[in-house]
């Protein structure tokens, strides 16, 4: 009973929410990026190059958040066998892959002028690259396995096993010597960023969160509708046979 009632209700509610989420995403993204680019003061050491922080940190944070979301949804899917959970995880994967690619790309463009290199195989950069491949692997499972129940189970296991990488990314800068600096935002003793730079950063992070909510809802809606389409096609074929 829940199986059929919940996706329909989810569809109804999420259709009401998404337009608002979209508008909020656009507004906060414009404010956050404009503030970061043109209003926030330059850094005492890095000058204007530090402005990459306003896209790099939100993208990196969301690349991990998105995987966490996928892992939790996958666990729910395995334990409670709720189809919405599997579909939610599946919908989030491409978004996470895009966030990860952006984190790597913007980080590389930040590393060149500041560190002196686009890339180095330190623990932080390497584990973030592994994250990108985990997203690719997860998406490949869904594409490769035709039986959707089986695909959901294998994909969920990939998501859960890969989740071990998330704390490794987060704490890599504390556990090992890396070129990447330690955390500025989520650390004990409060953020080590001046408020004039912190505010646009927080707004930008909020914008990326809202973006995730908006796009993941669209994608889940799409996946639910596709299930309904498959069901309808079967019924139409039966109807035609009878007639």
């Amino acid at each position: 009973m829940h199986k059929f009632a919940n996706p329909a209700r989810f569809l109804r509610i999420s259709k009401l929410i998404t337009p608002w989420c979209f508008v909020l995403t656009a507004v906060t993204l414009v404010i956050g990026l404009y503030w970061g680019l043109f209003i926030a003061p330059a850094d005492y050491q890095m000058g204007d190059a530090y402005r990459i922080i306003f896209v790099h940190v939100p993208a990196s944070y969301m690349s991990m958040f998105c995987y966490g979301f996928m892992a939790v949804a996958s666990a729910v899917g395995i334990i409670w066998k709720h189809p919405l959970a599997d579909q939610s995880a599946r919908a989030a994967a491409p978004i996470g892959a895009v966030f990860t690619a952006l984190a790597l790309f913007t980080g590389s463009l930040w590393g060149k002028p500041m560190w002196g290199t686009y890339w180095i195989w330190d623990a932080r950069l390497t584990s973030e690259l592994v994250l990108l491949f985990l997203y690719f692997g997860y998406m490949a499972v869904w594409e490769a396995i035709e039986d959707s129940v089986k695909a959901a189970r294998v994909a969920a296991i990939v998501a859960l096993v890969g989740a071990v990488n998330i704390p490794i990314i987060k704490f890599s800068v504390d556990w090992w010597n890396t070129l990447h600096q330690p955390a500025s935002l989520m650390k004990s003793g409060g953020a080590s960023i001046h408020p004039d730079m912190l505010w646009p950063l927080l707004i930008s992070i909020l914008a990326f969160n809202l973006y995730f909510i908006t796009v993941v809802l669209w994608r889940i809606q799409s996946l639910i509708i596709r299930r309904q389409i498959r069901g309808l096609r079967i019924r139409i074929a039966e109807e035609k046979d009878n007639g």
């Binding site: 003061p41 330059a42 850094d43 005492y44 050491q45 409670w80 859960l160 071990v164 650390k187 001046h194």
Partner: protein, 158 residues
């Protein structure tokens, strides 16, 4: 009623299965990572370098702070001499090439090159390490004026 409780039982079993497998996996990965500690760390600090007593010509990465008042530019304008310190040990470095924008005395760096026992470390690449502090220049100036500014890394870490 019976069927429902059996279903709930299965769910509970799956929950425990997921939790224990995650715990075992995390433990296994943790062990592997701690065994690979040396390989994962990007560089040695001056103390580790001194302790290891590596052979001449060994290619490694060395990391630490550029010692204050140690930076010198040679007459050719391309060769640089500086010391890398971690507070306890200090290693002299010679480097020919261009330096990253963040390179300065008191700042963290990672240099790649060859160890030489009777002479400076010969670096082929110098990378600057950024610290986790961000502030406008004016704020730094006022902090310095009031004597409140503490140079990053002075607490001993880089």
């Amino acid at each position: 009623m019976m069927a429902k409780s059996r279903a709930a039982n299965r769910k509970q079993k799956r929950l425990y299965l997921v939790l224990t497998s995650m715990a075992v996996l995390a433990l296994a990965i943790g062990l592997v990572l701690s065994a690979l500690q040396d390989n994962i760390s990007l560089f040695l600090d001056p103390t580790e370098l001194t302790e290891r007593n590596l052979p001449d010509g060994e290619h490694i990465r060395l990391g630490g702070l550029v010692a204050i008042d140690s930076f010198e530019k040679a007459d050719d304008g391309l060769t640089y001499h500086f010391d890398i310190t971690d507070g306890a040990e200090t290693v002299s470095v010679v480097y020919k090439g261009s330096l990253p924008d963040l390179f300065r005395e008191g700042q963290g760096v990672v240099v790649e090159g060859e160890v030489h026992k009777n002479g400076p470390f010969v670096a082929t690449e110098v990378l600057a390490k950024h610290d986790e502090n961000y502030m406008p220049k004016e704020v730094l100036d006022s902090l310095k004026k009031r004597g409140l500014y503490q140079k990053p890394g002075e607490e001993g870490s880089i």
